[in-house]
Subunit: 317 residues, 2 copies
């Protein structure tokens, strides 16, 4: 395995005192509905509003002093943009973030607020990876990828390492799946500690690229998915993450957009927590009965909360 439990422990050491040790919440109502003891790891309360800060900070922290002086570049319209910008600032580096020109003002403002330079492109005609590669070449910047990198995977795995420290042994963990970095790191941490634990991934129905890829035995690319879970709408898993996940992930289940909305309402009503649609995916799989036999003690990563008040109002209405 290219990433080990020890790598995740090392990453946790680098993140100590920098990333939040996010709380784990319980809900008697939830336990009653699911018929299990559920442990909710609130990464929506992580710095930058999502687990993404863990991987981004870890990756940036492993750059050389010379590289930190030159700066980093990342491309993302979502949580990785904020995470990379914040990580660069925390480590005394500078960040260029390549974002669609029509990104919501709140996201552009958040990234700018972390001191990053924003380079915009046309979502329909531009190629953000090409732009980032060109910037990296011209300015000597280090590309910080969103998921397909061992340092990112190790950083994301610290969320589950922490959860297992807080909750104790679990029978299963339920994790949203986008490019696969969070579940890859989570699976390495979880199975490294408890080989018998079940690792269950959750994708939107329309964005089931990892489910299809695992079924096919190789990386499958689907059409650009349409789902309210923008953070999970990737067309294919990463190469590294897929290689890890085909070994360690037991099952991928899917949830509908309506189930995501219903789960966001549940989070507001019962947990008093704001989840973005992607961040609700793991809990949605439990509440919607998408997981066949739920074992006694289940952990869920609530992966993010960057939805914004106006959009939240729309989704709850």
């Amino acid at each position: 395995m290219t990433v080990t439990l020890q790598d995740i422990r090392d990453a946790a050491g680098r993140l100590e005192g920098v990333a939040h040790r996010t709380p784990v919440f319980r809900s008697r109502t939830l336990d009653g509905r699911v018929g299990a003891r559920v442990f909710l790891k609130a990464e929506n309360l992580q710095r930058g509003g999502a687990f993404k800060f863990r991987g981004a900070y870890h990756a940036v922290s492993r750059l050389s002093p010379e590289q930190l002086a030159r700066g980093i570049v990342a491309y993302s319209s979502g949580n990785h943009a904020q995470a990379a910008a914040l990580a660069a600032r925390e480590l005394g580096s500078t960040a260029v973030i390549v974002m669609p020109a029509d990104s919501p003002a709140a996201k552009l403002d958040a990234v700018a607020g972390y001191g990053a330079e924003i380079v915009t492109y046309d979502r329909y005609t531009g190629d953000r990876a090409a732009i980032a590669t060109r910037l990296a070449g011209e300015r000597g910047l280090a590309i910080v990828p969103p998921y397909d990198h061992a340092d990112i995977v190790a950083g994301q795995g610290t969320a589950t390492l922490e959860l297992l420290d807080q909750a104790g042994e679990l029978d299963a963990i339920v994790v949203p799946v986008s490019g696969g970095g969070l579940i890859a790191g989570s699976a390495i941490a979880a199975k490294g500690l408890y080989p018998g634990i079940r690792v269950i991934g959750v994708e939107p129905e329309a964005a089931d690229d990892t489910r299809r890829s695992l079924a096919a035995g190789h990386v499958v690319r689907i059409d650009q998915p349409h789902t309210i879970a923008d953070g999970l709408a990737v067309p294919s898993p990463g190469e590294l993450t897929f290689a890890i996940n085909r070994e360690l992930v037991d099952e991928i289940v899917v949830v509908s957009d309506d189930e995501l909305r219903e789960t966001m309402r549940f989070a507001v009503d019962r947990l008093k927590l704001v989840l973005e649609p992607s961040g609700a995916a793991g809990l949605a799989a439990l509440l919607a009965g998408r997981i066949g036999r739920v074992p006694a003690r289940v952990g869920v990563i609530l992966s993010g909360g960057n939805v914004g008040a106006a959009r939240l109002a729309q989704l709850l209405a």
Copy 2:
């Protein structure tokens, strides 16, 4: 003083392992905007969704075994209803809750879900206190009042006792004010530990009965207030709570409904927390600049989060 720091410590002992030790959140964005270090005590994450469980559980826990066997009665359209119902169930007693017939279904369901018997009355023609008193007489039930009782005050004070344990010494605490139980208990805890601490209460502009009462030097009754902060819309402070607060509260400031809405949006966007309008009052006073000179280290009680997804959507839109 009818309630002492030791009473609050005793209450904390009774609540240990029953009430949540709610987290204290920090936000660099918030600190930057306020120009102080702000410690947010997240009582919206308390059992029952508000600090009210502390006082209700403490009061019920001090009833005799005979009284617990006969049961309790409480009247409230808000968080105290859920808190009293939950407290009775936790202590093996039974609860009758007197609620307006037109209460939102979500609130009726929540109270019923805690196993309480609900007695409804007409909000415009009925007298809930009279109904509760009659039920208490007929059935031998103990009335659990929402704020004007030493056991309630001591229980509510545990929120601030905990906050000061978690955050360390503070220069000021900012607390929403309804009937005055939370701020009375908070003031006793805070000044008992740190005599120099400033205790600042916050009321809606339209529900400034405690501010007026403190200015007048006696309990003043105002017209039934109209504000989105339904939990703070009482026409007058309690007798006991007023007697405590006139000794210990340094200042009452007011916030507008628009400032409450803006603060609820801030909580969603930056904290990923759901606050009900009343629960946002303390933070609103800071964000809106209603507190003249903000000292270096300030604690705020985020007192509750029972707003419901549909209503939250309306208020955020």
